[in-house]
Subunit: 270 residues, 2 copies
């Protein structure tokens, strides 16, 4: 039982709230039962240490049994230690330190199915938006998320929380320059759709046949002209009422679901 909120271990866990420490160590935090559960289910090899209070251990006995079956380290801690370790303040008694299994873009692209749907975060800066887009990509059955080096760090605690476990559900490539991402996708025959409120093609009229990627820009200013120009088409979600726009996560989810529906409607080849 870890009881000292001022111990070196507590400090080194807490330090993972900082991007520089995550970059240096390749580790990050999964806070709360839902994130920890999905990490243990989908990527146990990435889970390094689980920290749990006595009360939460009782509540999540099944989760901890699965963790022990996977030979993961489970440490019991006091509520004070847990609070000192985490970023959110309320991890509901449970958190984990995870390793990030860095996935190379070429490997991820090589593993794509022939009718792939990809989501690219070109300049998404808000942690909640980034996490929600990853969750939406997962729900819509996208095959890959690629996050540019100009976007928010997806291993930040707030992004991880907002993905509600989806970070472990589908391949996520990070820290690649946006032009490299676009060229690599194009080289694999993946068509590029910029999602932008200034697009001339309305989403219901976009040709979503074949492998394609949705490129999402910045919350405030949308996509750089350079990125837009590198795409095959610029698509906007129709606004039927008086709203000026949709938020980024909503627009991304609508685009990705349109892709999912197009894929379902398409007759599968031999």
């Amino acid at each position: 039982m870890l009881t000292n909120p001022r111990s070196d271990r507590v400090k080194s866990v807490r330090a993972l709230s900082r991007r520089s420490v995550r970059s240096r160590t390749g580790q990050f935090l999964a806070e709360g039962p839902q994130a920890v559960r999905e990490a243990v289910r989908f990527a146990p090899e990435q889970v390094r240490d689980i920290y749990v209070t006595a009360e939460a251990a009782e509540r999540h006995a099944d989760l901890l049994a699965a963790a022990r079956d996977a030979k993961l380290w489970v440490h019991e801690v006091t509520p004070e230690v847990l609070a000192a370790m985490c970023d959110a303040g309320h991890p509901q008694g449970l958190m984990a330190v995870c390793r990030w299994a860095r996935l190379a873009l070429d490997d991820a692209l090589g593993a794509l199915p022939p009718d792939a749907v990809v989501c690219v975060l070109a300049h998404v800066r808000d942690p909640g938006n980034a996490g929600t887009v990853i969750r939406g990509a997962d729900a819509a059955g996208a095959d890959l998320v690629v996050v540019s080096d100009a976007s928010v760090d997806v291993l930040g605690p707030k992004v991880v929380r907002s993905t509600v476990g989806s970070l472990w559900h589908l391949p996520v490539v990070t820290e690649v320059p946006i032009q490299t991402i676009l060229e690599a996708l194009r080289g694999r025959g993946v068509r590029l759709f910029a999602a932008d409120g200034a697009g001339h093609t309305l989403l219901p009229y976009a040709d979503l046949d074949g492998p394609h990627a949705w490129v999402m820009g910045n919350e405030a200013w949308g996509l750089d002209a350079q990125v837009r120009d590198a795409c095959d088409d610029v698509v906007r979600v129709p606004i039927h009422g008086h709203a000026e726009s949709l938020n980024l996560a909503m627009a991304a989810t609508l685009c990705l679901y349109a892709s999912a529906e197009a894929r379902l409607r398409r007759p599968r080849g031999p």
Copy 2:
């Protein structure tokens, strides 16, 4: 120029952050240029006082000219006074006190078009979610939003901010018991769709012909059995990947956009 952050006027504006004061006075806060602009454009008769710093007055000269054309009161204030008045801390130099023009449910229903799409918030408790759903309903061209008395107060500053002006773009009825809402809609021939992850009808297969309403439940526990049973169908957004669910605002937006597309595809009768 108002300079005293401790004046009675400042205190009475600030008090509108509290639900009890909003209920008693029928007034609420619109914070930031986007909210104030949409209020002045779409509902100037609801705007009571505008408060603006000298710096913001310069930046938003067009908005203030429109406000003065509409014979609205514009008060210049110091940044300290504005900060003391508002809830958010950063209203970007501009806020307004608005009156809520309470709309009766029967009047709102009487004004619906024959192919109406309605969004009902049955038990939405999170202010950001409620605001984002109203924004999504606006973008999807819904005709009416009805908010039950068990949902969050949509006149709270955080909800108003999250609507990004949509609160003034379409009719919003508030503070009605959910069973009264459902009975009134049914009485007008509006079919009721419960949006629920436990639904048996998948969204792409829902019959969205004719006037209908989407009934959105609570973020955590979904819809009460009683509410679900009162609906004509229970519909879920398909989850193609491993995500357990979508967040409420995303699910609502997908449902409302499905309605918008069904409406566009339908041949209009004489």
